[in-house]
Assembly symmetry: C2
Homo-oligomer: 275 residues x 2
Amino acid sequence: MTRPTRASDPGGIVQRAPTLAHGVRLKIRTGEWKSHTSGLADRHVQGNVVILPLSEAGDFLRFCQRNPKACPVLAVSEPGAFDLPGLGADIDIRSDVPAYRVWYDGELAQECHDVTALWRDDFVTFVLGCSFSFEQALLDDGIALRHVEQGLNVAMFRTSIQTERAGMFHGPMVVTMRPMTPAHAIRAIQITSRFPGVHGAPVHIGDPGQIGIVDICKPDYGDPVNVLPGEIPVFWACGVTSQAALLQARPPVCITHAPGCMLVTDLLNHHLSTF
Amino acid sequence: MTRPTRASDPGGIVQRAPTLAHGVRLKIRTGEWKSHTSGLADRHVQGNVVILPLSEAGDFLRFCQRNPKACPVLAVSEPGAFDLPGLGADIDIRSDVPAYRVWYDGELAQECHDVTALWRDDFVTFVLGCSFSFEQALLDDGIALRHVEQGLNVAMFRTSIQTERAGMFHGPMVVTMRPMTPAHAIRAIQITSRFPGVHGAPVHIGDPGQIGIVDICKPDYGDPVNVLPGEIPVFWACGVTSQAALLQARPPVCITHAPGCMLVTDLLNHHLSTF
């Protein structure tokens, strides 16, 4: 059995704790777990999954590289390969995600729990960082997150910030919003600056109108949360940006994870901290 | 001649470029330069100076240690010693500051260019970090500073934030305010977080009322600067906090630098970056 390795992990830190995540993936692979991954394998990095044919994969990778805050790439597979050795021992991306969505020409065609039957030898898998990782770091630091406290999905907004186009992929940046006291906002900027692989520092603080958000109480996706008096809204780039760009580009075929049903990796969240 | 060293500088980086600062200090020592040090020995760390008898020095050091954002200690001398080997080659703190203020019982008694005649063998010198260092880092990063552009002193405000008391020293935190776009505010938080030795990250962003500032257009010290539409005020702890605490404590004797007339050290600003 191969063990996960990373170029940035010469000391092999990542190799120490794969068991918990590996066990979760086995339950998912065997169909024992088919739902949201939030809270599973606590402290392990979870990733957004996008699978595209090689013909569209080049554009998409350039799109991600040009928009790293919205689309932080944790791993890209070899064409046709369904393992991701950089992210975990014996990952099989065809079966290790609890629920997939299959899109043809930008239209949702089906949701399923295994895409082995659909696999093509020109498929390329992208795993993008997810805010679960930095939220854990914020919570660990004592910064309360209202949507977590209230058991809601984070509030997401389309903005007037345009992504950098790459080939067929373009569109507005989507952001998440978390209301905080100014002191927590400062600390959250410090903490998330250490995590460029999972959206990094915020893209905006304060006045929502400056990034084209008309009503902070009406998110485009997710659930509304209140911004209390004395709080400041803090906005991070969101992985939904890539999904919006994918839908707009209408590639002939595309497979993504279903919302909230992420790939659980062997990496620990704190391994993503750059300092 | 001894060369400056720091415990955190095992590679001896600091030892490479003392000549410029050393030359500036010689001009100051001989009386050739008796004025503001802003812009002298560009890129070298300049420090606030506080000299107190040993009997008050313990309280003051604890005050600084309890309020590190306002009073970041770069060096403390041995009692009676007038050199500061950690900050520069052959510093003589009795003569290497362009202008001193001498205070008795909290009242300004005189301003002079040399305190050799006043020296006591129980005097302890504190050198505190100054925002010149982080402002240089902000400017280097392309973040415009309005007060610098307009040739003004930075706007300073007394706040409702109370310092942590230590013995005779206490009082409100004084902050500097720099108006910025939200994007620059985020970047400035990242940059100044790397410089805990010169006030570090801001203590507040946004609503001035939350830290007891009634009118952002009327600073308590320094010059007013406009906060333009779309900008957010960013507040850093300020070294004037320690001066306010000193005046209030009324120690029998105290010597400080005159405003703007700092100690020029052999350290380079970027050496203060913690990462």
